[in-house]
Amino acid sequence: MATGAAGGGSASMDTYREARNWLLMPAWVTLAILVLVPVAMMLIYSFLTKEFRGGVIWEFSLAAYDQFFLDRGLFGDEPARIEWTYITIFWRSIWQAATATVLSLAIGFPTAYFIATRPARMRPIWVFLVTIPYWVNLLIRTVSMKFLLRDQGTLNDFLIAMGLIDTPLVIVNTNIGVQIGLFYSYLPFMVLPIYAAVERYNFTLSEAAADLYASRTTTLTRVILPAVKPGVLAGCILVFVPSLGSFLAPDLLGGARNFMIGSLIEEQFKGNAGNWPFGAAASMILLTLVLMLLLLFARQQVKAGKTAG
């Protein structure tokens, strides 16, 4: 299988130094053709003219970005004002993703901390239990959540049977439904990096804090949290980024009023809107947001690494 290119080099650190470029070539070529070139094509498409039944006409145009940011009235002859429709959809997506992130942090941090303070042989089992749901089909998990949260779903049946409520709680087709769906989709992503950080945390620091009469809460917020901050940030990024561009949770658990970026983009290609340049432009704006966020995060991690070292 992998033997063809191997063989050269010394048996030291860099056994395959000479073969290195050949070993990496298939990955470079595949990913360049199937990821880098497509993203470049998408950028080009966002500056082309739309064809009505989907597709593009090869003529330079700023119409997609114009439509996204500017409102020129119904007939396009009024002075340009800011178009709020799409900015609102982006803003709502950011808000939904942020809420899901905060929810995941509230449940994920204590869970990760608890797992990291288990005896060493119990930890892999806990990690395994938290990881399994991530590997279960996201579509199936979202459908399951919908089944649970429906008006006649298991949750409402249970609450009514317990006598806690008389009429079913309406969760599906609301913002809260989407938030719960996003939270549920990406919760394991919050737990794992925080767990990794807490496991490396030196608990003698907590002892030192206690010796200096710090309360438990102060120890948590002033000693433990700063020490595990990179893990917490990584968890937040890993929940926030996929939530932002998510399609399934808003589509299945939200209604028309809970439209998010993912649905807006999907509609340009699969739905009736059929405006490829506009869909490409919206994707570029989303990609830019995400890359900026990842860049900020990377700088933060480098800083954290420096202060820790």
Partner: protein, 268 residues
């Protein structure tokens, strides 16, 4: 010792951890239980029955689901195999290739499919195939899957390789093994747990993908997730819960194998 234990523990964290597990599993368990419901209705429980499983295999929608399942498994097998081969080569180059200038750039490229939001990758791939006039169908799904499976296969393989000391290959060569023998007889078997685990994860990721598949599939070509999505759009039906439960089983079995394979290392 006792004091240290107290310092570590926060009251309530155990409860929250248990709540976390409950949240993660409750929806899956509820669906699995209701897939065995004898009733036509979703909510009334009328006893245990396998009728919805029978419905999946012989019911009116069985033809569609069988075709979708066949497509899904063919695509997942081929995509995971190709991605694992590419990732194994790449991991060997990255971990055993010494220091080199393009290292972090290469790592960035390999992890790109995980970092870019899935919907963006879906749009880009659709536009790419459309612009070069590549007809949408099984082939476009397969190519797209190979690309996003690479990082999932790469990570466990590279992690495994980093844990293998160079001294094993060195010892083999001291005992007059050729470099090729050192690779095939020593390094590759040691890497096997990582390779198997990478393959299984890539397989699941491919089997599960909805968003990218939905964009690049041609009309009439369905995989299990797109067929399920189409069906769910008209309302959740009991046969969907039976399919979901079976897919759930496949994922759990594969992840469990992957977990035990990667744990089963005699050499540390």
């Amino acid at each position: 010792m006792r004091a240290q234990f107290d310092i570590k523990t926060y009251t309530g964290f155990r409860a929250i951890a248990l709540v976390c597990l409950f949240i993660l599993y409750a929806p899956l368990i509820v669906v699995a239980v209701y897939s065995f419901n004898a009733s036509q209705s979703l909510t009334n429980w009328e006893g245990v029955s396998l009728r919805w499983y029978a419905d999946v295999f012989t019911g009116p929608e069985s033809g569609k689901f069988k075709q979708a399942a066949r497509n899904s498994f063919i695509i997942a097998t081929v995509a995971a195999t190709v991605a694992t081969a590419i990732a194994t080569l790449a991991a060997t180059g990255m971990v055993r290739g010494g220091r080199f200038k393009l290292r972090s750039l290469s790592f960035g490229l390999i992890s790109l499919p995980i970092m870019v939001p899935e919907i963006v990758l879906a749009v880009a791939t659709l536009i790419f195939f459309s612009s070069i006039g590549f007809d949408r169908g099984i082939m476009t799904i397969l190519l797209a899957h190979i690309a996003f499976c690479i990082p999932f296969a790469y990570l466990p393989i590279a992690a495994r390789m980093q844990g293998i000391e160079h001294s094993y290959e060195q010892a083999a060569q001291d005992l007059y093994a050729t470099k090729r023998q050192a690779f095939t007889k020593i390094l590759l078997p040691l890497m096997m747990p990582g390779i198997i685990s990478g393959f299984l994860l890539a397989f699941i990721v491919s089997l599960d993908d909805f968003i990218i598949t939905n964009f690049v599939k041609g009309a009439g070509v369905e995989t299990l997730p797109t067929a399920i999505f189409g069906s769910v759009k008209q309302g959740i039906k009991p046969n969907i819960m039976a399919i979901s439960t079976m897919l759930l089983g496949v994922s759990i079995v594969m992840v469990t194998i992957s977990f035990f394979v990667s744990k089963a290392d005699a050499i540390r």
